[in-house]
């Protein structure tokens, strides 16, 4: 961008923009932080589908079979199992947040440790639920 007036601000229009996420090395803290938002947003779809499942059940058998059939199809299961992991991650990471709100476990070492614990627990809980459901 050509800037005519180079008086007070010679670098106008060519300043670095604030945080470039892509130049930072991903860290457990930042990755889990954004995952908390992504899992929360993603679960909206599952909740709409589950609400539909209840509404269909309250309507009649034929409609329920359509909703239940969709949720138990491969595509429905892909959404539900993905959302199950999203749930467990958001659940355990939410506990981390509530602990921080109580001003506990806020040192960098503790934050990284609880992050890995939440991540591992979310995978374990998802696998256990899927095994239990089969």
């Amino acid at each position: 961008m050509v800037v005519e007036n180079q008086g007070a601000d010679a670098n106008q229009g060519n300043r670095p923009l604030s945080p470039h996420l892509q130049i930072y090395r991903p860290q457990i803290t930042s990755v889990l932080s954004i995952l908390n938002r992504i899992t929360g947003i993603a679960m909206a779809l599952a909740m709409v589908l589950i609400t539909w499942w209840f509404l269909a059940a309250a309507t009649h058998q034929g409609y329920f079979d359509v909703a239940d059939g969709f949720l138990t199809s491969w595509f429905g299961m892909l959404i539900l199992v993905g959302s199950l992991w999203a749930f467990w991650f958001h659940f355990f990471n939410g506990l981390r947040h509530l602990r921080w709100d109580a001003v506990k476990g806020m040192g960098m070492k503790a934050v990284r440790r609880s992050g890995w614990i939440a991540l591992v627990l979310s995978v374990v809980a998802t696998v256990l639920c899927v095994i239990w459901a089969m």
């Binding site: 938002r37 929360g40 947003i41 679960m43 909206a44 909740m47 709409v48 589950i50 609400t51 499942w53 209840f54 509404l55 059940a57 309250a58 058998q61 329920f64 079979d65 239940d68 949720l71 138990t72 539900l80 749930f87 659940f91 939410g94 506990l95 947040h97 509530l98 709100d101 639920c129 239990w132 459901a133």
Partner: protein, 126 residues
């Protein structure tokens, strides 16, 4: 040093016109969802793909009907609060932002009403 009095600082809560109310309300729904989400999850998984009759039998029980009703109400509140913050953070442009905030509120309000209606119908007609 600030020339503003303590009284003035509290009145109207400054330029944002709100304090920690939204943040605090999010914590309250998240704490409520710790037991509610677990109590809802397992019967739901158990009834998925198990047929219409078995599903109606489960949710006609007052215990499961009440858990599911409380879960859906608090869940929709938490979804509304969470997505509201996401919209406020990432959606720029006054019209789009206000529009999406309104849609978000109406959407989760409607979802809660639909879910509660469906559960009530199942619970009362069995």
């Amino acid at each position: 040093m600030s020339y503003i009095t303590d009284r003035k600082r509290v009145d109207g809560l400054g330029s944002s016109h709100s304090g920690v109310g939204h943040w605090m309300s999010q914590r309250v729904t998240s704490i409520a969802l710790i037991p509610l989400s677990l109590l809802f999850l397992f019967p739901f998984i158990g009834n998925l793909g198990g047929g219409h009759a078995a599903m109606l039998e489960t949710y006609a029980q007052p215990r499961h009907a009440l858990i599911a009703t409380m879960f859906f109400i608090v869940l929709c509140m938490h979804m509304y609060q969470g997505l509201q913050v996401v919209i406020e953070d990432y959606i720029h442009g006054h019209r789009l932002r206000i529009g999406m905030l309104v849609v978000n509120k109406l959407f989760w309000g409607s979802t809660a009403v639909i879910a509660v209606f469906a559960i009530a119908k199942i619970a009362f007609s069995a």
